[in-house]
């Protein structure tokens, strides 16, 4: 639950209670995301139509029916949402140069912290896939990410890492009997 949500709570309650919806503005990149969703939906709709054409009768109860209906609903409503968003303003609307727009968009969609953490998780997953021991990869990931996110306390984070690893081993491996990656 973030602070923005809390700020909007009063408006939300009014909304549930039946009041008129407040004018909606878009987040940076929201319109683009609606379009991407619509295009992905369209791709699967085309695939579903191809599957529908391949299956034999009775088509209505075939394996292609539900995917066709779902992808059609997905595409149509995502398109409707995208078209509706064309009338709304986003924080990027006033920006003229492509550079500024891209900077604003990436700043919102991919904050540096998130990009670094996604990269760290990917590296961690790849390490596990290459059979690097969980007990080596995990402490490194934990210490590295804590040190990055807290930007301080490198020594203290070693203690935190040890506590968390001990917690994982005791609770999940010993108590829950979970097999570790």
């Amino acid at each position: 639950m973030d602070a923005d949500t809390l700020k909007n709570t009063e408006a939300e309650i009014e909304n549930y209670g039946g009041a008129e919806q407040a004018p909606v503005s878009l987040k940076s990149g929201e319109r683009g995301f609606s379009l991407v969703l619509c295009l992905v939906g369209l791709f699967f709709l085309i695939q579903s139509i191809a599957m529908w054409n391949q299956v034999s009768e009775p088509k209505l109860s075939s394996a292609a029916a539900l995917p066709l209906f779902c992808s059609a609903a997905w595409t149509i409503l995502a398109l409707w949402d995208f078209l509706g968003s064309l009338r709304m303003k986003s924080p990027l609307s006033g920006l003229k140069s492509f550079k500024e727009t891209a900077k604003g968009l990436l700043g919102y969609v991919f904050p540096k912290t998130v990009v670094v953490m996604i990269a760290a998780i990917l590296v961690y997953c790849v390490a596990l896939m290459f059979h690097i021991s969980f007990y080596i990869a995990t402490p490194i990931f934990l210490w590295g990410s804590m040190s990055y996110l807290m930007r301080d306390n490198y020594v203290k984070n070693i203690l935190w890492t040890a506590i968390l690893i001990a917690f994982i081993i005791v609770v999940f491996q010993i108590l829950f009997g979970v097999v570790m990656p």
């Binding site: 639950m1 809390l6 209670g17 912290t113 596990l128 996110l149």
Partner: protein, 511 residues
């Protein structure tokens, strides 16, 4: 009497009571820590407890559920950051009370109201579920189809920016549920020759990704947000206030049970609706709403906990979840070889009464843990996100791996996590996606059965008017959809404005 013997099973297996206690205690803290939620915790629990005996797994998960719904109120009152969506309404009056130095009283009220709400929810569950189960035996495929549709609509429209987005998310979920080899025709659907996809998208992996990893990523994007802390030494339960406002508690709890029993609508919706009805019905609060009115804590806290009992009704009787956590519990029961639905109560009545028993103990432990451990609580809530979020990611990794011991599941979980991050960033709801994946089998089976029985889609749709149950469900869908339309909202606003104007005029005359 048979019911009592089933309920007594808990006393013959004290470790189940212990597990409920552990779960409730953990749930209170999970719910209280901003960024962690009951949904996230229960989704992780599914993977960690899948090798356990069903009763033990359920006892732990129910404890977490009960504790987490209440836990959100603590950080809402103390930090002005609701620990869970169901506590959003509580912060509106809870935090102003805390700022006046009445945090102990506010938390005492929240605890007692949550316990009363939970108990009323349990009563609702114990009495209504057997009735609903009997009625559900007469349900036809079109009825199940409508219920599944209603669930997707409700969870999508009530909690999101627009109904369209909710339906898009639900459709994506249903579509993802179709991926893999079709069980009836053996046709490969959207597998693209990837062997991993033949068995379909694992809903537990998707669940952990959408609720666990994505939330951790979102929290990391707001890592610098700091809460203003309130000091508190003990929680004071206020019995006189409880007695005085019992009618409001009862009204809000009944509302909570009803909202919970609607497929897809959960504690957040119930709390907001209860807060709204309290604002409308309490004419002269001692302190205005929004400035520390006790009614502003009583209504949402009793309603959001009453949802628990209500949400179990459609889950156990129809196999359709009442909210996000019961959706996860359906998957847990499925993993344990059980199929929630109208036959569950007749074939495994002990399981139903075990759930009721666990909820009763959960309510008792909620009172205990709700009124104690404040020092530990203030320490735990202050753990920085920089430490918690990497831990959540690691738990998501362990949880997704634990299902099938497959490293590929970790990658898929992470993929769903990133997708969920985008959804949350752009205000698309994630719950309908997970609900869609879980409901896809029920949806497709009943669709196929309906079409085959009536020979056409139009025949299936017209069969809605052949039975009173179908007509009732159809009317319910129309009413619920209508109540979310802008036309209805504008009409209600006009009505409210007129009412407030009349009241103001009356007050003016009296003055």
């Amino acid at each position: 009497m048979q019911e009592l013997s089933y309920l007594s099973i808990l006393f013959t297996q004290p470790y189940l009571i212990f597990l409920v206690a552990v779960g409730t205690c953990a749930g209170v803290y999970v719910g209280a820590i901003p960024g962690l939620s009951g949904t996230m915790a229960v989704s992780l629990m599914v993977s960690f407890t899948f090798s356990w005996e069903t009763n033990s797994a359920l006892a732990l998960m129910i404890g977490v559920y009960v504790g987490a719904v209440y836990g959100g109120s603590r950080s809402a009152i103390l930090l002005n950051i609701p620990g869970a969506p169901a506590a959003v309404a509580t912060s509106l009056d809870g935090y102003p009370l805390a700022k006046k130095g009445l945090a102990g009283e506010a938390m005492g009220i929240a605890t007692t109201q949550s316990v009363i709400g939970t108990v009323i929810g349990i009563i609702g569950l114990a009495f209504c579920a057997p009735l609903v189960s009997k009625i559900a035996l007469n349900f036809k495929s079109i009825d199940y189809l409508m219920l599944a549709f209603m669930g997707l609509m409700m969870v999508g429209s009530l909690g999101s920016k627009s109904m369209k987005r909710g339906i898009v998310a639900g459709a994506i979920g249903l579509f993802l549920g179709c991926v893999g080899v079709d069980a009836q025709t053996a046709v490969k659907r959207f597998t693209y020759d990837i062997v991993y996809l033949n068995s379909g998208v694992d809903f537990t992996v998707a669940m952990i990704g959408f609720f666990g990893a994505s939330e951790a990523l979102i929290q990391m994007s707001e890592i610098d947000v700091k809460a203003i802390k309130q000091k508190i030494s003990r929680i004071i339960p206020s019995w006189s206030i409880t007695k005085k406002h019992f009618p409001l508690t009862l009204r809000s709890s009944i509302l909570g049970v009803l909202v919970g029993a609607l497929p897809g609508a959960g504690g957040d919706i119930a709390a907001l609706l209860a807060y709204d009805q309290a604002k409308r019905t309490v004419k002269n609060p001692e302190v205005p709403f929004g400035e520390g009115a006790v009614e502003g804590i009583i209504a949402p806290e009793s309603a959001n906990n009453a949802v628990i009992g209500g949400a179990f009704i459609p889950m156990l009787c129809l196999g359709i979840p009442g909210d996000a956590i019961t959706a996860i519990m359906i998957s847990a029961l499925t993993i344990h070889g059980l199929r929630p639905g109208p036959n569950l109560l007749s074939t495994t009545p002990h399981l139903f009464w075990l759930i009721v028993g666990c909820l009763i103990f959960g309510a008792a432990f909620l009172l205990l843990f709700g009124l104690t451990g404040i020092k530990a609580f203030t320490k735990i809530v202050e753990i920085p996100k920089g430490i918690l979020m990497p831990l959540i990611l690691i738990l998501s990794v362990i949880g997704s791996f634990a299902i099938r011991n497959s490293v590929y599941d970790i990658l898929w979980m992470f993929g769903f996590g990133v997708l969920g991050y985008f959804f949350k960033r752009f205000e698309y709801p994630v719950a309908p996606v997970v609900l869609g994946i879980i409901l896809s089998t029920l949806f497709e089976d009943n669709y196929r059965r309906g079409v085959l029985l009536e020979s056409s889609i139009s025949g299936m749709l017209l069969s809605v008017f052949k039975s009173p149950i179908s007509i009732f469900l159809f009317v319910l869908i129309v009413v619920l959809t209508g109540s979310q339309s802008n036309w209805y909202k504008n009409w209600r606003k006009r009505k409210d404005d007129e009412l407030f104007a009349k009241r103001a005029a009356k007050d003016g005359q009296a003055g």
